[in-house]
């Protein structure tokens, strides 16, 4: 399957195609995150919707994983290959056109990859701050009423607490309290700053990536290309800002101060 690595240009195609898949995902992710500004209900509903996708969620996850792995493996292979293609370095070297973002793709990429692992452990698996991960919103029903418990952590504890009540609580609906998890997580300034740095790197990475995608796949008409280059940079800014605005707002107390 990795035979394509013997062809540098095909490897570039793989980079471009997997890259654009990841960019599309990231764009959706960023837009989804912004729902935090619409309030807890909107965000948690969205999160629940995603989690309710079932096998589709897993298809998406596997797809993204494959894309990410191909992107990373190919990039590392290309980097080593390209490094070897210029074994003797210049004593003096000045770059004219190669911008910092293009020259640091591998490094920003690897840092982003490391961050993504952290991020998944943090908010998807929940092993970084398990105390924040456990919160759930639960609607329960007993003989008298439908109750909403916004600060539930698990059903069993709920059960125990409610043992004295009359009747048996039946869980009507339960969803992960993503809002609370996120807010509590980002109230930690170290974590917030770490995220902010990471998404700036991501934006930086993307500012080269978008136009690179067009160039690699050959959609580079002189009429549009200057616009594509501008779009690429704008897109990098957009992604970085869309992501960092969430921890920044929490840190500044603009949102989530009531949690």
């Amino acid at each position: 399957m990795f035979k394509y690595l013997n062809h540098v240009v095909i490897s570039k195609f793989v980079m471009a195609i997997t890259g654009i898949i990841l960019i599309l995902f990231i764009t959706g992710h960023a837009l989804g995150n912004l729902q935090i500004f619409l309030g807890k209900e909107a965000l948690n509903k969205y999160a629940a919707f995603l989690q309710g996708l079932g096998e589709f969620l897993w298809i998406e996850r596997i797809g993204l994983l494959v894309a990410a792995l191909l992107h990373i493996i190919t990039s590392i292979y290309l980097k080593l290959y390209n490094y070897n293609a210029r074994p003797d370095k210049y004593v003096v070297k000045r770059y004219i056109k190669a911008k910092l973002n293009s020259r640091t793709m591998i490094w920003t990429g690897l840092m982003i990859a490391a961050f993504v692992i952290y991020h998944l452990l943090h908010f998807t698996v929940g092993s970084i701050q398990p105390e924040n991960y456990k919160y759930k919103e639960i609607y329960t029903q007993n003989a008298y009423s439908v109750e909403y418990n916004a600060n539930a952590t698990s059903l069993s504890s709920q059960d125990n607490d409610n043992d004295a009540n009359i009747g048996v609580n039946k869980i009507l609906y339960e969803r992960h309290d993503v809002y609370k998890m996120v807010v509590l997580g980002f109230k930690n300034p170290y974590i917030s700053i770490f995220y902010i740095v990471a998404v700036i790197l991501l934006g930086f990475h993307i500012s080269h990536a978008v136009q690179s995608f067009f160039q690699t796949l050959g959609w580079n008409s002189p009429k549009y290309f200057t616009w594509i280059e501008k779009l690429s940079v704008a897109y990098g800014y957009f992604i970085a800002i869309a992501f960092l605005i969430v921890p920044l707002s929490i840190l500044l107390g603009i949102i989530g101060s009531n949690v």
Binding site: V8, N82, A85, Y95, I96, Q215, G218, N220
Partner: protein
């Protein structure tokens, strides 16, 4: 004016090589860069030292022989200019000038600043032609070619095969050269019958020669003395994509 030269000296492909310093007085600002090196070499010969070997010939920016990395830039500080057409008026009195050979894995150093660029020839030999025997050509006006296409082909054809693109590329990649050469022919109606084979063969040979891949740094375009655009790389990528889908990678 006076200049302080730091020049890469290397006796042969297997020698280690090092920077050697030379001071040169009485440089005229009207001199070309190579004429300045001529003066250095004349001095060295009179002193009984071996002159600095560098490749050059036409000295009017078209043969593609010359090519030095001057102060970290292939062909020096002036854009769109070959080393031979660079003039000393672009430097200041007392400047330090670093002169190195073109570097890429596929360009081995012959001596001092002279490198072996035969890899470019082999890439061309792999498919950079239209198979048209003498005698078989129809009238030149039999196939009209839109002016914009002819002009674009000419933009690509302006490549002088100097190697600055590979020297400038952090990956030592020859993509701009291969793109210019394949695009010139792939753009024209005459080049259509061999279009797919050409681009596959040339890219295949480029890989075999040990050139790196493209990371879209666009450093090649900036260094190209003929200002060849990286859009030709995009075109080649597109051609290659289609060719590989249709015919696979085996040449």
């Amino acid at each position: 004016m006076k200049v302080k030269l730091h020049i890469w000296r290397q006796n042969g492909p297997n020698d280690k090589g090092k920077m050697v310093d030379y001071n040169l007085d009485n440089v005229s600002s009207d001199m070309s860069f190579l004429e300045m090196l001529d003066i250095l070499n004349e001095d060295l010969i009179l002193k009984g030292e071996e002159p600095v070997v560098f490749e050059h010939d036409c000295r009017e920016g078209i043969c593609g022989s010359c090519g030095l990395v001057i102060n970290g830039k292939p062909h020096g500080p002036e854009s769109g200019t070959t080393t031979c057409q660079l003039h000393m008026r672009k430097f200041k009195d007392g400047d330090d000038i670093f002169v190195e050979p073109f570097r890429s894995k596929a360009f081995s150093i012959v001596k001092d600043l002279m490198v072996d660029r035969s890899a470019y020839d082999r890439i061309q030999q792999s498919g950079g032609f239209i198979s048209a025997n003498v005698g078989s050509a129809p009238d030149a006006n039999a196939i009209p070619i839109a002016k914009n296409i002819a002009d674009l082909a000419m933009d690509a054809a302006a490549c002088i095969g100097c190697g600055a693109c590979a020297a400038a590329c952090p990956n030592g990649s020859a993509m701009l050269f291969v793109a210019a050469k394949s695009s010139q022919l792939n753009l024209l109606p005459q080049g259509q019958p061999e279009k797919n084979k050409r681009v596959r063969a040339m890219i295949n040979q480029m890989e075999k020669e040990g050139f790196g891949g493209c990371s879209n740094y666009y450093e090649c375009e900036a260094a190209c003395p003929k200002n060849i655009s990286v859009r030709f790389i995009a075109k080649m990528n597109r051609d290659y994509f289609v060719a590989v889908v249709k015919e696979g990678t085996k040449v």
